[in-house]
């Protein structure tokens, strides 16, 4: 009976190739946890910065703040209404 040398060689080669591939991929992914941790920390920092900026923006665009700033800058409330009306005709042609 002839030994299936070729078939066995192919199988062994495939096993070796797959093992090497797995090692390469595992090696590549082994540091991805660290990278993910860094990304998540970065996201958290941006999230916090966004919140602080949103808070500042809303506070500075509030009427309460604008009115107090306007008062400091010397703006006062207008006590008179000025409106432009049509002049009254002297005579109306019937």
């Amino acid at each position: 009976m002839k030994k299936p040398v070729l078939a066995l060689s192919i199988i062994i080669l495939i096993i070796i190739a797959l093992s090497v591939t797995r090692v390469v991929f595992s090696n590549g992914m082994s540091t991805s946890g660290v990278a993910l941790d860094q990304i998540q920390t970065e996201i958290s920092v941006y999230k916090i910065q966004n919140t602080i900026l949103k808070e500042k923006l809303l506070s500075m665009t509030s009427l309460d703040y604008i009115a107090s700033k306007a008062s400091v800058l010397g703006f006062v409330e207008s006590k008179t209404n000025i409106s432009l009306n049509r002049s009254i005709p002297l005579a109306i042609k019937q």
């Binding site: 660290v34 999230k47 919140t51 509030s62 009427l63 309460d64 209404n81 009306n85």
Partner: protein, 560 residues
């Protein structure tokens, strides 16, 4: 030899069965527990707090939003030097040392130390690297306009389980819509505690709360808040209310009331301040009720503007009571236009007697007096009208000029605005639209509650009210050039069975421009002391606010 084989075979079979039964125990009986135990080693649940919906004014500016804050917790079992740690935490968190010490002495793995910590405070404490102390990210309500419209907004407190819950105002009324649905996310970690590259599985049921877009106009609300505060100081009143509504739609444009509270520090204020006086306080409206009674009598053709009062030349005696005018001046054969102009109580007694009890009750019901308005705020009250058999002749007389009957400011505003809107009583609405978490907008349409008077009667009544503004007691304060319809009110306060002559509720109600009203407004001062009359307190504030609103809307004067 055979028996030896058999013994070994039995031993092997028993051993095999023992292994099999143990496997069955771990794989079937204890499978769930082991699975959970395993998950704990490589998975961590991250609390995914659902953000509470925002409350925005009509210009889409959030008057109630969220900001990130932190809850500080500790694991007492990891803290070795509890005395020193308590001292440091106490000074950093501004919490007394005894409370921190007590928390750290507990035989627990997790104790809460303080919530609502700001980002800067958290970073400062984190920098100290105290072992056994951790932080949990939470959301706290943030009010960019500080305490503006506090009664309207309500506040967010905690329920029995320590979860956020809205109380009073919009936070209370729309709590279910505003609160989101909390969820959890799972992250997978390796043996070193580093996250493994895979998407955190978000719990699908986590939903952000819906946001509310109000009909409240931020500029008008700001104006009313400022003017009311100044008015209360100027007239030394104990409190006040300003309510502004769009008569054609029932949209509430502003709702101010003082004394008030700060929604972000509600715990520092007395619980009595949480109630919104605009919807919860009952008061006798006095002369501001007269236009409702007069318009009902006009609508029923019981009187016309030219009808002369034949009992107005002297005080009117009914059931042993003597009814006088507010200034003790009497006008013989005064007509209905001047009854409103002079706010003549005897003239209103004449109108009340013409109406009779049945028609009076029916008219008040049409105006929604005693029924509540259905406004979308938590805490609305109302006082039902007494049954017909409890009405005496003197009640008919006094209720015709607004004494002996109680209403809430919003009830009166809604009833009065029906005169401005051609006789249609609209349901008041603070919220104009709901923005769902998935970006959809659901608009709330105006709702007609019923017709109070005919369109023609509303026009006649408007002219009588414009005349009252131009020639009545408050004419000194009116806005020249604008046609404004309005009525003053000075109601005595009932105390222990009688009316206190020195304590009043001073008010003014009106709308502008009279021919095409953009707003109807009610101004109330509670127990003003510099003057007790509505014409001298509430009316000037009304016209001051009205001037600002007309300017804001860009409405120019219609008369020279």
């Amino acid at each position: 030899m055979i028996w030896r084989y058999r013994v070994i075979l039995v031993i092997l079979i028993l051993a095999f069965l023992a292994v099999l039964s143990r496997l069955f125990y771990w794989q079937v009986v204890k499978a769930e527990n082991l699975s959970q135990l395993g998950q704990l080693q490589y998975e961590r649940s991250i609390g995914n707090l659902a953000e509470r919906g925002e409350i925005k004014t009509s210009d889409n500016f959030p008057v109630a939003t969220n900001k990130i804050s932190y809850l500080v917790f500790a694991n007492p079992k990891q803290i070795k030097n509890k005395t020193d740690t308590s001292l440091v935490l106490s000074s950093q968190l501004s919490v007394d040392k005894a409370s921190i010490s007590a928390a750290l002495s507990k035989d627990k793995y997790w104790v809460s130390l303080k919530s609502g910590l700001k980002i800067e405070e958290k970073e400062k404490l984190e920098g100290l690297k105290i072992p056994g102390v951790g932080f949990e990210e939470t959301y706290t309500r943030f009010y960019p306009e500080a305490s503006m419209a506090a009664h309207l907004l309500g506040f967010v407190g905690k329920d029995d389980l320590g979860k956020d819950k809205g109380y009073f105002g919009l936070e209370g009324y729309y709590d279910r819509l505003l609160r989101g649905k909390e969820g959890t996310a799972v992250e997978v970690y390796d043996a070193l505690g580093l996250p493994v590259l895979q998407e955190a599985s978000n719990s699908p049921e986590k939903v952000k709360g819906n946001s509310l877009v109000l009909n409240i106009n931020r500029a008008i609300q700001f104006i009313t808040d400022e003017k009311l505060k100044k008015g209360i100081e100027r007239y030394s009143a104990t409190g006040g209310v300003v309510a502004v509504m769009e008569p054609a739609t029932g949209n509430i444009l502003a709702l101010s009331s003082f004394p008030s509270f700060s929604p972000s520090e509600y715990g520092e204020f007395g619980a009595s301040l949480y109630k919104n006086p605009s919807i919860s306080n009952l008061y006798e409206p006095g002369s501001t009720l007269k236009p409702l009674i007069m318009s009902a009598a006009l609508d029923a053709n019981l009187v016309t503007p030219q009808t002369k009062c034949n009992i107005c030349d002297k005080p009117v005696s009914i059931g042993g009571y003597e009814i006088r005018t507010w200034n003790n001046e009497y006008f013989k054969d005064i007509n209905m236009v001047d009854v409103i102009r002079h706010s003549d109580n005897t003239g209103m007694v004449f109108v009340g007697q013409k109406m009779g009890i049945d028609r009076m009750i029916n008219s008040l019901n049409k105006f929604g007096i005693g029924e509540g308005t259905g406004i979308d705020l938590q805490g609305e009250t109302s006082q039902s009208l007494p049954p017909k058999n409890k009405w005496y002749a003197v009640d008919l007389a006094t209720r015709a000029f607004g004494q002996g009957i109680s209403v809430t400011p919003i009830e009166l505003l809604v009833a009065f605005s029906s005169i401005a809107s051609g006789g249609l009583r609209m349901e008041p609405h603070v919220v104009g639209a709901i923005q769902t978490a998935d970006g959809k907008t659901i608009k709330i349409s105006p709702k007609v509650l019923g017709r109070t008077i005919s369109e023609n009667t509303s026009k006649v009544m408007t002219e009588m009210l414009v005349n009252a503004v131009n020639k009545g007691e408050a004419s000194f304060a009116r806005l020249k050039g604008y046609r404004i319809a309005g009525k003053t009110g000075t109601a005595s306060i009932p105390i222990a069975g009688h009316y206190d002559p020195n304590k009043t509720v001073a008010s003014f109600i009106g709308y502008a421009p009279a021919d095409n009203p953009k707003f109807v407004m009610l101004v109330i001062f509670d127990k003003p002391t510099s003057s007790i009359y509505g014409a001298e307190t509430a009316a000037p504030v009304f016209f001051d606010i009205a001037r600002q609103i007309l300017l804001y809307y860009g409405i120019s004067p219609s008369e020279e």
